[in-house]
């Protein structure tokens, strides 16, 4: 997903790196120009405006997230010998790490989804990338079904959307003044995995 021109690519990768350590809203054009050493004129040659650059950054973030998720899932299938291995490996994916860092990443993901929902252009770019994640997770459950590890009555696509929705939707807990105890959340997700999704 590298942009063709090296200057354009450097601007995107610089802004992307910056986005890993601070909220998107704190990234200014001055900061990106200073960090990359690229001139203002070049920025506006390659991008319509600064928000155009930041859209490219969001798409980059989504692509990288997607690739790492898919790779993780394929490794999980390749290394799981038993249903117990599979359940164990699914935990980190479905629990969602609940550290503050990941809270920030989840908020960034919400911002990115919001943009995809409100702009046709962003939906056309991000929709197919999101579809790749949904399909890849569904494919893992299809394979788990073939191995007799999952509930074959369920639709793998619905399972895929459900597991992702828990991760995205738990943003409501980040916003609230009091949070669920992580252990209580993990217990609940484990019950869903063992009693519903992997039951057969």
């Amino acid at each position: 997903m590298n942009a063709s021109h090296p200057t354009k690519e450097l601007l995107i990768s610089t802004a992307f790196e910056l986005s890993l350590t601070r909220p998107m809203a704190e990234i200014t054009s001055d900061l990106v120009l200073e960090t990359s050493g690229i001139s203002k004129g070049s920025l506006y040659h390659h991008f319509e405006d600064f928000s155009d650059l930041m859209e490219h950054v969001q798409v980059r973030a989504l692509s990288i997230f997607t690739d790492s998720q898919i790779q993780g899932l394929q490794e999980l299938m390749a290394t799981s010998q038993t249903k117990a291995d599979f359940l164990q490996g699914l935990r980190p994916i479905s629990h969602g790490n609940r550290s503050p860092d990941v809270g920030a990443a989840r908020l960034a993901r919400i911002e990115s989804i919001s943009k995809a929902l409100s702009s046709t252009r962003m939906r056309e770019i991000k929709g197919p990338i999101q579809q790749r994640i949904t399909n890849a997770i569904a494919e893992i459950f299809r394979e788990a079904n073939r191995r007799g590890w999952a509930n074959s009555d369920l639709d793998p696509m619905a399972v895929s959307v459900f597991l992702q929705s828990l991760n995205i939707g738990s943003v409501v807990d980040i916003l609230a003044p009091t949070q669920v105890e992580p252990e209580a959340w993990f217990t609940l997700i484990d019950l869903i995995l063992s009693e519903v999704i992997l039951d057969h």
Binding site: T134, L154, F162, S165, G169, L175, W185
Partner: protein, 204 residues
């Protein structure tokens, strides 16, 4: 809750919510809200710092007003149902209503409002307080269901409260993809989660 506000403030928020039903928030002007509510400009700026603050209230309360309907429905269910099976059927029915295709727009409004709250501290405070109230209400309902022996005691009530909200809002992940999951297959999964996890003691 909206009912706690001064009548003028409440009326302004309600009028803005009515407009939000048919217009994106960016297209709504203070003139429209004033005309619809019949309230003076001076009163608006007495109750809100600026027009954006009124729209923030409207976005937050538009959603919570709708969640409050589900909370009320659960409340009625707890009062009226006679058997564990009644309860299970009732929970599935209420859930179906919250996941209906008509609610897609509500889900999107909610995600957009959350995204706005991420960069706007004033809105985040407002939304955080409302979100806390909603989760507390669901937590109380879950606890009450546990006491009646209808909700699974294996589950922390607050975790259950977040779960039902999470899959309702998080399904937005399927709203911007080229393909969409089948509603019936989604309900099949959600029903099973309700039956085997949230109300586990009922079926066993």
């Amino acid at each position: 809750m909206l009912s706690a506000f001064h009548p003028t403030k409440k009326s302004l928020i309600k009028s803005a919510i009515v407009l939000l039903d048919s217009h994106p928030s960016s297209e709504i002007t203070s003139e429209q809200v004033l005309e619809l509510s019949g309230i003076s400009k001076g009163s608006l700026y007495h109750h809100f710092d600026d027009f954006s603050e009124l729209m923030e209230y409207a976005l937050v309360y538009m959603f919570s007003r709708y969640v409050d309907q589900s909370i009320e429905a659960f409340n009625q269910l707890l009062i009226n149902c006679k058997s564990p099976n009644d309860f299970l059927t009732g929970v599935k029915e209420i859930t179906r209503a919250t996941q209906s295709p008509a609610m897609r727009n509500m889900r999107i409004v909610r995600i957009n409002a959350i995204a706005q709250a991420i960069t706007n501290q004033r809105m985040r405070n407002l939304m955080g307080a409302e979100q806390g109230r909603l989760t507390d209400s669901f937590t109380d309902l879950f606890r009450e269901a546990q006491e009646k022996g209808w909700g699974s005691k294996k589950i922390d009530p607050r975790a259950g409260a977040v779960l039902v909200q999470a899959y309702t809002i998080g399904r937005v992940i399927d709203d911007f993809t080229p393909e969409h999951i089948e509603m019936e297959r989604w309900f099949q999964l959600v029903d099973l989660v309700i039956e085997r996890v949230l109300c586990a003691e009922v079926s066993s």
